[in-house]
Symmetry: C2
Subunit: 407 residues, 2 copies
């Protein structure tokens, strides 16, 4: 696997664009397109929230019922959630408009929205945006970046990742983009994620890989514990690499899975590290757990703890809060047995052992916690299972952003 | 039921004190005692956190195994949690010291601590504090207030409540105090709560009433979603009112239950409203739910949502976040059917109906949300069950307090 530059246009045959459509923001790009020159096999996972945004309902239908997909139209600024029948009709209208200008079937067009809940989309501007997008889409890496920028809301930077693998001697590429950055607690998140690949792979195999991989990537991050109404991950495979088809039980299957995992994990971590107001990525790695599920629950509990997150912001080695968060996770364990470390590029330090604090240096710990990527390592001493979760610190700016978001 | 002034010394035969013991803070009271002139029937509920502070382990044993209790020694500043065997020994030493100076059995002394996790108690100062407490305890309302002030950590105000009822023609009094104000998500919380009563009641009946009541009072509040290692609620009944014993299935049982509920609910709401950094009490009342349990889950999900809490701080009627929080609670419902209102002393306004926003005035909504007590009323339209949960807004000061807490 080779890590390369790029995003949704890295793979063969994918085009993208980002344009200003004045949906809600002014003087910035707020609509994007991903377009494939050939029809794609689709896989998708969506929010588990009972309150599902209209685009989620539309896309679920396309992913489940359409033979293939070929374009995604995304807007930022308005989430098209809690918008009733009118909101759903707007998805159809958007797809219909895109189908007309791109000359593809309406049921091969996916839509995605992110932003304020409860407002209706300005359809005239959406339709004008679709025309602009169709006119300006390109297969360049820069076009992918334009799209990644256009889907941002409170994100401070765009998020892309791409890799190359070899399948039966043929180069296959996967690339993706996503956006956060509040209401992030995917089960699926305000997260929108899009991954494209030119691999030849069946819908069935692609779906299986995507569904199993999100459990350990996008579903292991949290910014604020709020599972959004719009969370969407779409994976599109157009087969243009011309590789021998990727089948289950083969080494190529594992290679592809690993590549998708890399793209997903990289995008997920970018989202966590760019959580609203964040100054640091908080990683929690649980090792030595008795079951995989318990490892996941424990690591997520730590990255979701408001008190731990505030302590990380303060570069304060307040390990008691971490122990507390492990303790209320619902997993049973013996607090006297576990071990705790802080880790970053500045070093590694053991904090807790045999039921009490070690004789660590507060100064050294604080230095480790001042880095922009901080890892809490927990050894449960109960077995061999591991899991990693990603979050961010809790800062004044998180409050600022969310107290004023609509104004 | 008559609401009266006072706290733990309101009921007959209870004494209290608060003194400066320099446990961790300087120039403020940080140790308290509750003492009953006669032995008390005890009931208690404790944190569900796997990581339980030493005083929790000690008190559980006393409540379960001792025939009665007579005194509680509380310190603020250090939580005596994650302190291993040494920490537990300190509980025993504290109880032993109190037993000696008060001339009561060691196993009738309860202890409670709140503050930083992981530090050991300075036992010399604790023991000196116990002596001072024994010397200065009184049965006055002011002494109760001194105690309520001494147990505060990041609380901005002390918290007391008391009521009088009549049982078989005899006046019975209940009074209590508690402290918050971070790591509050009781299942039981950093919450410490103490309720005293002079009622004649058996341990069995008292325990049953306490355990059922906390579900709808202390367990329905959250400041930050972190369930502390120290959460303790102790209820002490010394029988000095001389009423005919309160038995199950009688009108007196209901009267007592209602009185305890009032005290518990009042203390719980005070804790939520004085959550770390809070500027407002956020109440969420769910009506029309299909089951009581679902009503509780839905109301708690709203008061726990960081995004909703930040919006309340900003006086922003961002109802989409409330709908979102209901949606990820795990309860199934039809978003098109439910109705949403904001309510405060400034008025009441319907915000959401038939799947979309009503034509409400943002200005009016913002005015309602600017009050120090705000209610979100949700009608699920599915049945007749109701529940209420209490939280607070999320502010800069919550971050400030918790980024710097140990320094």
């Amino acid at each position: 696997m080779k890590i390369i530059t790029g995003g949704v246009t890295a793979a063969k045959g994918f085009e993208a664009a980002g344009v200003e459509a004045a949906i809600k923001y002014k003087n910035r790009k707020d609509m994007a397109i991903i377009y494939s020159q050939k029809p794609c096999v689709l896989a998708g996972t969506f929010t588990s929230n009972v309150v599902k945004a209209a685009p989620v309902l539309w896309d679920k239908k396309v992913v489940e019922e359409s033979p293939f997909g070929q374009a995604v139209i995304v807007n930022a600024g308005i989430a098209n959630a809690c918008t009733g029948k009118e909101g759903y009709d707007y998805c159809k209208k958007t797809a219909s408009k895109a189908a007309a200008v791109l000359d593809i079937p309406e049921d091969s067009v996916l839509v995605a929205s992110t932003g304020v809940i409860g407002m209706q989309l300005p359809m005239d501007r959406i339709e004008a945006g679709v025309e602009k997008l169709a006119d300006t889409k390109k297969d360049t890496l820069d076009a992918g970046t334009q799209a990644a920028e256009a889907i941002m809301t409170t994100d401070t930077r765009s998020k892309q990742a791409a890799v190359e693998i070899e399948v039966g001697g043929v180069k296959v590429t996967l690339g993706g983009m996503c956006k956060g950055s509040g209401m992030i607690h995917p089960n699926m998140c305000t997260m929108l994620g899009f991954v494209t690949t030119d691999a030849v792979i069946s819908k069935e195999v692609l779906t299986e890989i995507v569904k199993s991989d999100v459990i350990d990537t996008f579903n292991m991050i949290s910014v604020d514990g709020d599972t959004s109404t719009n969370d969407t991950l779409l994976v599109m495979a157009n087969g243009m690499a011309g590789n021998p088809e990727i089948k289950k039980g083969t080494p190529e299957y594992e290679t592809f899975k690993e590549a998708l995992h890399y793209v997903n994990e990289t995008l997920a971590k970018m989202m966590a590290g760019d959580g609203e107001g964040a100054t640091a990525l908080l990683e929690t790695k649980v090792i030595g757990a008795d079951t995989k599920e318990n490892a996941r629950i424990l690591s997520k509990s730590v990255i979701c703890s408001s008190l731990t997150k505030a302590a990380i912001y303060g570069h304060d080695a307040n390990w008691g809060r971490i122990l507390c968060a492990l303790g209320y996770s619902g997993v049973q364990f013996d607090p006297e047995k576990i071990e705790l470390y802080f880790e970053s590029k500045s070093g590694r330090i053991q904090i807790y052992k045999d039921g009490v604090a070690t004789d660590y240096s507060e100064e050294e710990a604080s230095k480790i916690l001042a880095d922009p990527e901080v890892t809490v390592l927990v050894d449960m001493k109960m077995g061999n299972e591991t899991a990693t979760a990603w979050g961010c610190d809790l800062t004044y700016d998180y409050v600022k952003i969310n107290a004023d978001y609509r104004s």
